[in-house]
């Protein structure tokens, strides 16, 4: 789950990007509208955390820009103002949720998960495929009701694949979901994670399509 955080306060920006990583997300931080436009032009995000007061403009401008391009990426607004008009305006301009400062890191993460779930039209918070169950909230995976311990990256790979079983995810798509810009991605990092995943949940779930990518195998093995 790749998140863009647009916030001009350096301490809060650092806190949000680090904190969301702790919750199994890959977060990128920018502190101006200009940088936000650049990030949105190059990368696809699962959700955007957007501060309203930015040094070179308002978060509302970014929101408008996004919706004008017909981009439906969920947006969580952050603001220090708590007047009802501000909230109404933000939501009417196309924001999906609203959070007043100061907030709880858990709540931000939970709301982002909810936004992501809604964007994909899922009813259940858990991802279930046969006897494999993945809970994005608690970062837990169970196989036949037995817990499986996965690393953060392995969890990210499995989550990305389980979102749409049977649909192929390319290596670069998976990398995008797993790593922020600041993070070094080894040339065979994804292969390593897939390898480790297969070791923990068995070989039958993940299918490799040479030259294309990976998917959850839906036909009977």
């Amino acid at each position: 789950m790749r998140i863009l955080v647009v916030e001009d306060d350096p301490i809060l920006l650092d806190g949000l990007t680090t904190g969301l990583t702790l919750h199994g997300m890959a977060a990128d931080g920018v502190d101006t509208c200009e940088d936000a436009y650049a990030a949105l032009a190059t990368t696809t995000f699962s959700a955007i955390v957007l501060d309203l007061m930015l040094p070179d403009g308002s978060g509302i401008d970014v929101l408008r820009h996004l919706r004008l391009r017909n981009d439906a990426t969920p947006v969580l607004l952050l603001t220090a103002r708590d007047a009802v008009e501000d909230r109404v305006k933000g939501l009417d301009e196309g924001a999906d949720d609203y959070l007043g400062k100061p907030f709880d890191l858990e709540e931000v993460a939970a709301r982002l998960r909810a936004l992501d779930r809604r964007a994909q039209g899922r009813a259940s918070p858990k991802l279930v495929f046969q006897s494999l169950v993945l809970d994005p909230g608690s970062l837990e995976v169970t196989l036949n009701d037995k817990p499986v311990h996965l690393s953060r990256r392995e969890f990210g790979v499995l989550r990305a694949l389980m979102l749409r079983p049977g649909i192929v995810c390319s290596r670069s798509q998976l990398e995008d979901q797993l790593y922020g810009w600041q993070e070094e991605v080894g040339s065979n990092a994804v292969e390593v994670h897939i390898h480790n995943l297969r070791a923990k949940i068995g070989r039958r779930y993940i299918q490799t399509l040479r030259g294309l990518g990976y998917r959850i195998r839906i036909e009977a093995p």
Binding site: D8, D9, P10, I11, L12, L13, D14, G15, L16, T18, G19, L22, T32, P55, D56, L78, A80, R81, G100, K101, P102, F103, D104, L105, E106
Partner: protein, 457 residues
């Protein structure tokens, strides 16, 4: 303080009564004189009439004739009957005739003219006339008591209607005063009816010209109170708003520190939290400085301050993390003094130097200098920072504005504090790009006579 209405009522009734009393006194005195005069004329006429009627020599020639006494006594119901008393005396001292109410003794010893005399316990005003041919003297007298009674009755007849008129007058005065004060009453009512929160201006529309200045003054006052409140409210709102972001950052970092599994991550989070605490406490400090400035009197005490000493004090008390040793003081600063309020100058200088140090890279310098150009003297603080981006020159002076090139510890209040402090001290702030083409040059501008060259330096 008694009410305006009671006051007006008392004044009007007192003055009206005084005028009435004066009128009565005047009428009384005037009526008495007039009646005196009139009755005196009557006395004279009566005396002459009696004199002309008496037969010449007749009564006087025969001393044996009895005294003629005219008939009649007081008639019941007539108050002014028998005012006149008449005696006819012969020259040889015999009483020839008298009116029925006259005493037997002589009314006066005066041979002719007016006189007053007490006879039988009553005061008489007597006119005496004599006829030397008939050899008789006629004395006609008026009972003075009766005369006064007449005047008193006259005045009393005026007093009785007055006794009815005065209360009516008082009532009319009361109604008039009430009617006259009605607009004031209306204004008072509309004032007392409004709540403490209602500070909208009063309607001047139909109020009379006398209370219009009062209403205008009140409206002016309302306006000022509203402005002051608005200012306070927006300040508090801004302050609360500004506190939220650093608090959110602080909270997030502390939560990360609590959840972190890697020691490095925990250490980093705590480090960030510490920075957040520093920044928040600086923000609180700046807010306090700002509210003190807002409350301080507009003009303070000017004194001569040596610039180098003042800047040294400022940098000496600064956090070591800002690397204050990067400040270089030009000779022009060392040998100049400025006449300015010490506290305000310190506040402005501290914020400007802090800003400069925060924005200057660690290997850069902050340069202080002082110059004099015509009517202006400038104290300059130049830094090697990024300067102010185009379009933000005006904005940076606003409260809570933090520009694109902001530092982690900036509160957005620094330059607002500087402009307010300098304004209080009668100085100005000008921001410009220094000759080198990069960085920022902040100039504290005072009139030339407030900067002097120190002899000792």
């Amino acid at each position: 303080m008694i009410s305006l209405r009671t006051r007006l009522l008392l004044i009007l009734i007192a003055s009206t009564s005084a005028i009435w009393l004066c009128g009565f006194a005047w009428i009384y005195v005037d009526a008495r004189q007039e009646t005196q005069h009139l009755l005196d004329r009557r006395l004279m006429e009566a005396a002459r009439m009696v004199l002309s009627l008496s037969a010449p020599g007749m009564p006087a020639s025969d001393p044996n004739l009895p005294v003629v006494v005219s008939a009649g006594g007081p008639i019941a119901g007539a108050s002014y009957e028998h005012i006149l008393t008449c005696q006819v005396w012969s020259f040889d001292g015999r009483l020839v005739g008298r009116s029925g109410n006259a005493p037997a003794s002589k009314l006066t010893e005066e041979p002719t003219g007016f006189s007053e005399r007490v006879v039988d316990g009553e005061i008489y005003r007597v006119y005496a006339a004599e006829d030397p041919i008939k050899r008789v003297r006629v004395l006609v007298g008026d009972n003075l008591e009766q005369r006064q009674q007449f005047v008193r009755d006259l005045v009393r007849s005026l007093l009785v209607p007055a006794a009815f008129i005065l209360p009516m007058l008082a009532l009319l005065i009361w109604i008039s005063v009430k009617q006259g004060l009605e607009p004031l009453q209306r204004a008072t009512k509309s004032l007392s009816a409004r709540g403490a929160e209602n500070l909208t201006p009063l309607d001047v529309g139909r109020s009379p010209s006398e209370i219009r200045p009062l209403i205008n003054a009140l409206n002016g006052l309302f306006g000022k109170v509203v402005a002051a409140r608005e200012h306070e409210r927006s300040f508090v709102a801004y302050a609360a708003h500004e506190m939220r972001t650093p608090l959110a950052g602080l909270k997030t970092q502390v939560q990360i520190a609590a959840q972190a599994t890697v020691p490095e991550m925990r250490k980093n989070a705590l480090c960030q939290a510490l920075k957040g605490v520093d920044r928040t406490s600086r923000l609180v400090q700046q807010l306090l400085a700002m509210s003190r400035l807002d409350a301080s009197p507009p003009r303070l005490q000017d004194q001569w301050i040596n610039l180098a000493a003042a800047f040294h004090d400022v940098t000496a008390s600064m956090s070591r993390e800002l690397l204050p040793e990067r400040v270089t003081i030009a000779a022009s600063v060392r040998n100049h003094s400025v006449a300015i309020d010490r506290e305000m100058f310190d506040l402005a200088a501290r914020n400007l130097v802090e800003n400069a140090l925060q924005l200057t890279p660690p290997d850069g310098t902050v340069r202080l200098s002082a110059t004099q150009e015509g009517q202006e003297a400038k104290i300059c603080i130049e830094d090697d920072g990024p300067g102010i981006p185009c379009g933000e020159e005006e904005l940076v002076l606003q409260r809570f504005f933090r520009g694109r090139h902001k530092s982690a510890t900036g509160s957005g209040l620094g330059l607002a504090i500087v402009t307010t402090a300098l304004d209080r001290a009668g100085a100005k702030l000008r921001l410009c790009r220094p000759g080198t083409g990069h960085g920022l040059r902040a100039e504290i501008i005072v009139s030339a006579n407030r900067l002097r060259l120190d002899d000792a330096a």
